[in-house]
Symmetry: C2
Subunit: 378 residues, 2 copies
């Protein structure tokens, strides 16, 4: 076959593939219409959007069919998870416009901060009456608090307790008082002291850059009269968030590791790269996807608001003490480096690996999946 003929044959095959792809997208559009009908029904009869058993059932049938047709079933699963998520997100987006407590009054204290504006947008779009109390609004605090059903405090950690104390006397007794501070014990205590009505602590574990709340986690720490905060929890769930209840002290302890230690370690790593003037882009040329992923985590931190990180890292004296222990723990390893003691390194490695236990396998599986995603996309 000469070059022209090969090219013509290739063109013919490509044309047939294009026709097929066109049909694929049309089918997806038909699918979307059916899903919208399902959504209208669910909306009308207040049924939940997400139906895990239905999803798993759908996935396993498609895996089976995919396998029969000679596909890697993981590929088919991934494809359908993508389709299902897209339809879930668009369903949530439409349902989210419906308020659980329509017309209720929401006062955002510190509402022009980044997280404040985030929640402002969600509450407003769902049809709540939203107002904002900022530093310069304290002279009209009484009028702002009138007829309010929910007061949500989102101010810097070091001001939280004081703001709560000042708010207390102005609140309607029935109003729900809540905060979104990243530590929970002290603010919750302050809210219980300042207000006699219902109280709940919230910690949204995501930043203001998150476009959807789908499957994002919000920790709730119960304060008083939980039945009176139920509507708020339901509203957050309706927006797609997963709420996890925790004791305030337990929450703060875990967050020391989940947030403070981790951010501090990332900060210290980025700072060292800067001190050494490492050529970041050059290093990316020579890098495995996993390095790209890890360096991405460092770059991500420095692309965000330093104030947010300063708050988290320096929140309490206990936190700062723990971070010092972290530095001390690294210092213990100077000796290992001096002696180039590979044997001791390996023994210590094995002890830690044994302690991580089954998490190691899970981490391998999840991170391998993400590395594939990274390769696929960039």
């Amino acid at each position: 076959m000469n070059n022209n003929n090969i090219e013509r044959e290739l063109e013919e095959l490509r044309y047939r593939i294009d026709v097929l792809d066109d049909r694929l997208v049309s089918l997806l559009a038909e699918r979307k219409k059916l899903v919208e009908e399902v959504m209208q029904l669910k909306k009308k009869y207040h049924l939940p959007v997400y139906h895990p058993a239905r999803e798993e059932n759908l996935i396993s049938r498609r895996r089976q069919q995919g396998s029969d047709e000679g596909f890697d079933p993981d590929f088919i699963e991934e494809l359908f998870r993508l389709i299902l998520r897209q339809s879930r997100v668009s369903q949530s987006r439409q349902l989210s416009r419906k308020a659980v407590k329509p017309g209720a009054g929401v006062l955002l204290v510190g509402g022009s901060g980044e997280m404040g504006r985030y929640f402002h947008h969600w509450f407003r779009d769902a049809g709540y009456r939203v107002s904002v109390l900022e530093r310069h609004d304290w002279d009209r605090v009484e009028s702002l608090c009138r007829n309010i059903d929910l007061v949500l405090v989102g101010v810097p950690i070091e001001k939280t307790e004081e703001v709560i104390r000042n708010l207390g006397p102005c609140l309607p007794p029935e109003a729900l008082l809540a905060d979104i501070t990243s530590i929970k014990e002290a603010p919750l205590q302050a809210m219980l002291e300042a207000h006699q009505g219902p109280v709940v602590g919230l910690h949204p574990l995501f930043g203001p850059g998150t476009s959807t709340m789908d499957k994002q986690i919000i920790v709730t720490t119960p304060g008083r009269m939980p039945e009176k905060s139920q509507w708020l929890i339901e509203q957050l769930n309706a927006w797609g968030a997963i709420t996890v209840t925790a004791d305030a002290r337990e929450h703060d302890e875990i967050m020391t590791y989940v947030q403070a230690l981790r951010h501090f370690a990332t900060f210290g790593f980025g700072r060292f790269l800067y001190q050494q003037q490492v050529d970041i882009f050059k290093s990316l040329e020579f890098s495995s996807p996993i390095y790209r992923l890890e360096l991405g985590m460092v770059g991500r931190l420095f692309a965000q608001d330093p104030g947010l990180y300063a708050e988290i890292i320096f929140a309490t004296p206990e936190r700062r003490k723990l971070l010092k222990s972290y530095i001390a723990s690294l210092t213990e390893q100077l000796d290992l480096l001096d002696k180039a003691d590979k044997e001791e390194f390996t023994r210590e490695f094995d002890r830690i690996a044994a302690w991580f236990g089954t998490f190691g396998d899970q981490a391998m599986r999840e991170s391998s999946y993400l590395i594939d995603k990274l390769i696929e996309r960039f």
Copy 2:
């Protein structure tokens, strides 16, 4: 409408969705057949698998169609990237069975190590004559080296130079000598001294757990007679790997950061979690996807071979010195913690953020994409 009727209507809609999904998978199977025809043609006429312009063209047409049908075009792009990648991987897998230098003899020195076995499998499947030289095979080294076209050295760093020196006198003068050590300067020098024929250094930036070489990076450091190593580079490319040429010294410098510093920092972080006996699974319950991702990187390290990491971390005295500077750099921050000096933290943060420059935005974009993937899947 009563509950039974709602349920019946939902069932009817779900049935129609299932029928549609069945057609979707059938269409994909038809698509696969067409792609296989394309591949047969390409294989027969030695055309490249990957055709970037064709892919981008296909993607932008589907984005347009998706948009017209009311979809988020990013969703449609993602879907088609997934489909295209799957077909590219399966094409590469079939093409990889074809050797660039059919029947050539490959001797893997240290072939029963993890990376050795990895390459053994690839060379053998492509139809090369593969043999292995292990520690106990030195009495028959002469016969093993006879009629060999490529000798690939993959032994622990501290033995690499000695092994190369011992091999030298036994090699056919025309044989290509290469290594896969994670440092390059010293081994390359040793190869050039031990052998008068063609020499090239390789550093595959991935572990033996990587199922496909698709888009994985292999650094090549030229030694002598590059035209004689061209077939090997082409073979690695045919398997899907991207080869990046670098000077051996430059490679080693960058790897100090890309590998040694990063692994050491991750090791130190995991070690501290172990010392503090942090409840990993509890912490995951309360965690944002990004924490899950970062902790996953730590878990991933400890799920792998400590020997590999010990090698990388302790490779050279310069590396160990740099790691000590890293600890010293963290120690500088004790003062900041003692004084809870948020202002200085913020100033330092801003300096580093400015230095990271545009990488920050790129990192945000990439990591946000991966976080979405993580939410979707787990």
